[in-house]
């Protein structure tokens, strides 16, 4: 095994072009488990923690540009206001030790259906910026997940950053696991209300081969809120609307039975989480009269 420690992004991309089978390592919280257990024996291990651009976040054209190597601990500490859904999801990940090392870029590249960043990024309409020596491109996050632990990157590409427009309304994240720390989700749900464009964003985790949105639920709720004038009045949300939204979210999932939970349980959990997340988000929206929309 070779070990490479590029200090610039150009150097990293050149190495990836020359060695498409090289395995990048950021926080190592997925990669090192694989190496320790002998499941992963890359010919080249490429440490990305010295590439400074990846460890930074900035505001670019009104969006947060989150470097692929920013840890969950920093998302929580520094970006709670700009990326509330992702920060909430980050708080549920692993343990303090894992959050100090694990990165959003690593979560994306692993593309596990259970990855906690995904539902939050889906709900917030994030884009993933990937790059290679050939240039860079932006992939809308729903198109990034192509199968179980598969993503839309070509062999010579690496993830540069995630772009997320800061919220115009409340966001929520809900996760079911067997305890409060160190659990892979049994099912998870992310929600974003976008009052500026009268839209709703959703993300489902651990309940389909890939993380996915619930488009019918999004459309139903957006139409309901617009049709009844609720975006403007901020009046109480009818319980039946939240309940129907929950059902439609569950309809979008296609879970399996596995050691963590049954498909039936996951569907039920999703409908309950979606209904609750919406209730919490709506309560936030009603009290947040500061923002004119």
């Amino acid at each position: 095994m070779d070990f490479l420690q590029p200090t610039t992004w150009a150097e990293a991309l050149e190495a990836k072009a020359a060695h498409p089978d090289a395995v990048a390592v950021a926080g190592g919280t997925d990669v090192m488990v694989g190496i320790n257990f002998g499941h992963l024996r890359p010919s080249l291990l490429m440490d990305l923690t010295r590439v400074e651009d990846l460890q930074e976040w900035s505001i670019e054209d009104g969006a947060v540009r989150l470097g692929a190597g920013v840890s969950y601990a920093r998302v929580i500490a520094e970006l709670g206001t700009q990326l509330p859904g992702l920060a909430m999801a980050s708080r549920t990940i692993g343990s303090p030790q894992i959050r100090n090392r694990g990165t959003v870029g690593g979560n994306l590249a692993t593309a596990s259906p259970a990855g906690d960043a995904h539902p939050a990024l889906l709900a917030a309409d994030a884009q993933v910026e990937v790059a290679s020596v050939r240039g860079s491109r932006r992939i809308p996050v729903p198109d990034f997940y192509t199968g179980v632990k598969r993503n839309a990157m070509d062999a010579d590409e690496l993830i540069t950053a995630v772009l997320v427009v800061p919220p115009s309304g409340p966001q929520q994240y809900s996760k079911i696991g067997t305890r409060n720390a160190m659990v892979i989700s049994v099912a998870a749900f992310g929600l974003a209300l976008h009052p500026d464009r009268r839209a709703v964003g959703t993300g489902i985790g651990s309940a389909a081969p890939t993380p996915r949105r619930a488009p019918a639920a999004e459309q139903f709720l957006a139409d309901e809120l617009t049709g009844t004038g609720l975006w403007e009045s901020r009046a109480e949300l009818p319980a039946a609307t939240a309940g129907r939204f929950g059902e439609l979210v569950a309809d979008a999932a296609s879970p399996i039975d596995d050691v963590r939970g049954s498909a039936r349980y996951r569907l039920h959990a999703l409908s309950v989480m979606a209904c609750r997340a919406l209730t919490w988000a709506w309560a936030d929206y009603r009290t947040d009269t500061g923002k004119e929309v």
Partner: protein, 162 residues
Amino acid sequence: MRLICTVNGTQQQVDDVWEGESLLYVLRERMGLPGSKNACEQGECGSCTVLLDGLPVCACLVAAGQAEARQVETVEGMADGGALDPVQQAFLDAGAVQCGFCTPGLLVSTRDLLQRSGRPSDAETREALAGNLCRCTGYEKILDAVRLAADRLAQSGTGGHR
């Protein structure tokens, strides 16, 4: 490959490190620092917790080369000669150590917690130590030890200074 990093304030150099090796392996098997324990090698138990550039991490998940030129602090660096760190003393006095396998990781995590927030609430403590598993104590004595250490550090004015 060669690895040079600072461990407990002393520069260390080791050769013939395998590229896929973890920092935990390097510490235990190459540097003669077996204080950090190896129990799971998958980030679940926290018994390998060390500070890497001041942050608690699982040494089993840090690739050796990622520690190049970094600062590593392990449980071996806590006692000052024969004098135990107040956190270590509190764990002994509170009876928070049974088999002791989880203890080094808990000491490193607790020391970090108390340096960040001098008097953590029990909820904060549980959150901060959620990545450190103990199969023996049932955690109550560990919580006692954290409170005892926090009290003593507050009295001596050495807690929460970071």
